[in-house]
Symmetry: C2
Subunit: 321 residues, 2 copies
């Protein structure tokens, strides 16, 4: 019988949970909103409650995997810090193991999503980087079929490579990180500038109609409706992303770069200018094959699936405890 | 008895050869200038002659390793392209194995230098990046004690990550590569601009005294003599290098970054502003330890030593042939 694990993906707005088989099949699902007070005790209660609910319906699960936004120490499973949640120094893994008696793993959300895409995506990729573009820019690096984390599990933060040292201030405190130029947050910033400069433009009008401030989502909607200003902002974001991805392929050479996160739902609007910039800045084009840039297979489900896969990988592996 | 291998390091100006023991001890050496006509047949004759000479004096050598500037396919040992030498599509490994009957390996010069620094440098580093700053910017990435090359051996080109997409044209054809801003070639460019702007400055005067054009070396000499303009150019180079290295540590997390190549001979003149910029642009400083930036242990000998070490690693390994 196929083994199953619970996979949980903690994001800024929701916690997605699933019971997943070794082949990636999702046999059960459960999603809860992230509480406004996202401190460690509140989040622990939520997580343990979700595990309990999923386990009662699926008593055979053998392990629990968690993917979380933020800086996660590996293999200890301590979440040190997260840009968009209140939890700090949260010993998630130890708490889950103690409360459930099941082996658990905790890793960065993009790392586990990368594992799902590399192992079970439309094409098998041994060397692959997943870049997720949402509120921020996250990444999972899979080398030789395994997640690369760095000596303490704190690496693989492609959103914070510097692509323009004189660029805008990033949420992390540095200037010109890829995330400061190529995330939903960047689109919110440039969209607000555009709306202020042209209050009759579609971006400003859409926000007024909905009675909200301009966000990356409003800009995306305007771009999908063909607004030239929104399209230009979108193309600028995609160009920065392509430049960052060119550097990533120069460093790693890769079988593929996979793009995930909410912004990729716009399809070719993002991918076409992204691929163009990645090709323009690719190194030694005459001798190095251009690395394909593909949309993700699992979309927003990649995190919970990958978390469960990682849990199954390590369920019998005492070296990670 | 310790096994020995021949290590050869092919550079733009010289080919350095050595007979090296497993512990890194150099027991014999031989250096030849790179011929002006550095095409494949000329270079093959030179290499085979050097191997022959070293082998006659050291008949016990069990393998040959070659490090070469340029894009080298692994494990086939085909040198596809080099920015500063004329050879193209040169099947070095096959030629050496056929002519000598010894097992051979051929890899990028900074890759093998990185192996020597990681394994036998002053401190043992399991996860380390070597950045070599000379005419260009090269790099060797060592992860888990092994050279990371990418799926076809064409990765690890940190000199060509994009640090300023509107920056100067690089020798590779792209704009704003780290190499275009932080190499000896970059120093030549900025030094010539400074000399043209101020013909009475020390940079211009040193070049006139020696009856040569301004080069990176002239700028370095002026900086070591305390010339404020030359020091500023040097600091700018070091700052770009630090920015690139910050991105590298954001991606890999590392035990250390080691700086090699001719420019590091200037010591703290380069390293102090480099470390400052690397710290300024480091990601998540509150939770991630700052990665130490160290000068290389072996200097220009790292290439030939690392080439021999790699040859000994693979002397009995049929999987690489």
């Amino acid at each position: 019988m196929a083994r199953h694990a619970i996979g949980l993906d903690i994001g800024g707005t929701k916690v997605a949970g699933a019971v997943v088989a070794e082949d990636g099949t999702v046999v059960d699902e459960l999603t809860e909103p992230t509480p406004a007070t996202s401190d460690a005790p509140t989040m622990s209660r939520l997580l343990l409650g979700m595990i309990d609910t999923l386990r009662r319906k699926n008593p055979g699960v053998v392990a629990v995997g968690v993917g979380a936004a933020g800086t996660v120490a590996w293999p200890s499973g301590q979440i040190l810090w997260a840009p968009n949640n209140a939890y700090r120094d949260w010993a998630v893994r130890a708490e889950i193991e103690e409360a459930t008696g099941l082996p658990a793993v905790v890793d960065n959300d993009a790392n586990v999503a990368g594992l799902a895409e590399a192992r079970l995506g439309d094409t098998l990729h041994k060397e692959m980087v997943l870049v997720t573009v949402g509120t921020g820019v996250g990444s999972g690096i899979v080398l030789g079929g395994r997640i690369y984390r760095g000596p303490h599990g704190l690496g693989a933060e492609l959103g914070h490579i510097i692509v323009d040292p004189n660029g805008p201030l990033c949420g992390c405190g540095n200037r010109g990180c890829l995330e400061s130029l190529a995330s939903g947050t960047a689109l919110t910033r440039t969209g607000r500038e555009a709306a202020a400069a042209n209050p009759d433009g579609l971006i400003a009008r859409l926000a007024r109609e909905k009675n909200v401030e301009v966000t990356g989502q409003i800009v995306t909607e305007a771009a999908l409706q063909g607004d030239p200003t929104a399209r230009r902002l979108f193309q600028t974001l995609a160009r920065w992303l392509g430049i960052g991805i060119a550097s990533v392929t120069t460093i790693f050479e890769l079988d593929a770069v996979v793009i995930g996160g909410g912004v990729v739902d716009t399809g070719e609007l993002l991918l076409a200018p992204l691929r163009e910039a990645a090709a323009e800045f690719a190194y030694a084009k005459s001798v190095r094959p251009l690395v394909p840039v593909l949309p993700s297979t699992f979309g927003s489900a990649a995190g919970k699936i990958g978390a469960a896969l990682l849990a199954l990988d390590h369920a019998d592996d005492r070296s990670t405890r």
